[in-house]
Amino acid sequence: MGSQALSQNNETFEINLGPQHPATHGVLRVKLTMDGEYIVDAEPVLGYIHRMHELMGENRTWAKYLPNMGRIDYLSALSYNLGYVQLVEKMMGIEVPERAEYIRVLTTEMNRISSHLLWFGAFVLDLGGFTPLLYAFDDREHILDLLESVTGSRLTYCYYRFGGLYNDVDDDFLTGCTQFLKRLRSRMPMYHKLVTGNVILRQRLVGVGPLSAEMCRKYGATGPVLRGSGVNYDVRKNEPYSIYPELDFDVPVYSDGDSMARYMVRMDEIEQSMRIVEQCIAKMPQGEIKAPKVPKLIKPAIGDYYHAVEAARGTFAIRAVSDGKNQAYRMKLRAPTFCNLSLYQEASKGMLLADALAFMGSLDLVIPEIDR
């Protein structure tokens, strides 16, 4: 379609989308070569919010690197916390008490719901609908209040510790979660009625930005982007960690590959996360929240370590190389959005500009996570 879009005299012009543009949700710059309303080439230019998180990991002790995790992807910070503490626990062979595992999964899934709700609001806002954003933020606010009552922060959480948690949850939190789930369950049909069924939304999403499973594989796309293209891959099922094997939940997969499919995957994921949270509350065991013997000085044995978790946007993986010292020799963070964005250049060729923005919204980009 790209070549068809070019006019006969082959006149093109360049425009910048971003680095400060509301639709990019951060400081992403996309250099667009346009032919009228059609995109000939879209080149993402990264690095505007690069903070050297990987290098920081190589210059700080293992424990001091913990607060960095909440700053990579500030919308699903707990998944990143989880990935990092589990990596260190793997390296050091620390056994985590069951209660701590349940609380970790519960809070991570609540965080996933809040992340998806924010995406939902912002995405519909990109498409020109303002009201759903306010409703989504209203619900998200409840999650933030609940998580704040436990973790002490609202966005950049630093709640998990090597071998356990910073502090325990109380019954008020669990009751609050149950009440919230009841509320969200009653709100979901409203969201579907107001947004999913809306004619304008459907016309802007159905068939827009089709991604084949092959293209997702080529660029390493994961998470809802991959599952929207019909590939059933979820780290929670494929490489299970924590207590996920004990929980009953489904992985939503849609095979259409268009923006609507990615939208539906995330909406279904909210439902599945609600199921997980419910099970965690029901099964929550009593007991310790911190492993009894956690070495004060973390010095992992020499080796190459890898751990992956399913964050809200896809597979977040850490590869750490330890040379036996109290700092990592190499810290590699695999951020899902970076891979999800990399297919944008190829996939957006020949698209209308307005469609390309809808497509970008469906990828759920978090720019600080791309740059790290």
Binding site: R60, P67, E148
Partner: protein
Amino acid sequence: MAGYFNSILTGTKSLVTGLLITQAEFFKKPVTLQYPHESLEMTPRYRGHIQLVKNPETGTHQCISCGMCQKGCPSGCITLKGVKQEGVKGKVLVQYDLDFTTCSLCGQCIENCKPGAIEFSLEYNLASTNKEDFHYDLLERVKEQK
């Protein structure tokens, strides 16, 4: 032609559905707060900047100047100094400065503190155009604390 009228019909239906949902919100209580005029009380676990805990019995802090908070801080935002004084066991804290501009509120200082001498404050209405306003002298603050 049938498709044309059909899309007008579904479009109108979709519009009315949306309007009915949003209209219902008119009759609900507002969920927002008129912020500078009203503000929320923070939960007990809220992480504001750190402060020295005031011991109600002695009327002062319980810091033993061990420096573990300083050592554990990822951002190096704590500077403290303890000096030996005659007749007093251990060191006496003479300086405890917090550079809140670089603090990431991770709570590692509090976890490292064995005597439990520091805690999170519940302050969140912090705004200033001057960076120096976020360099806190915690020793001075503990005296002012009620």
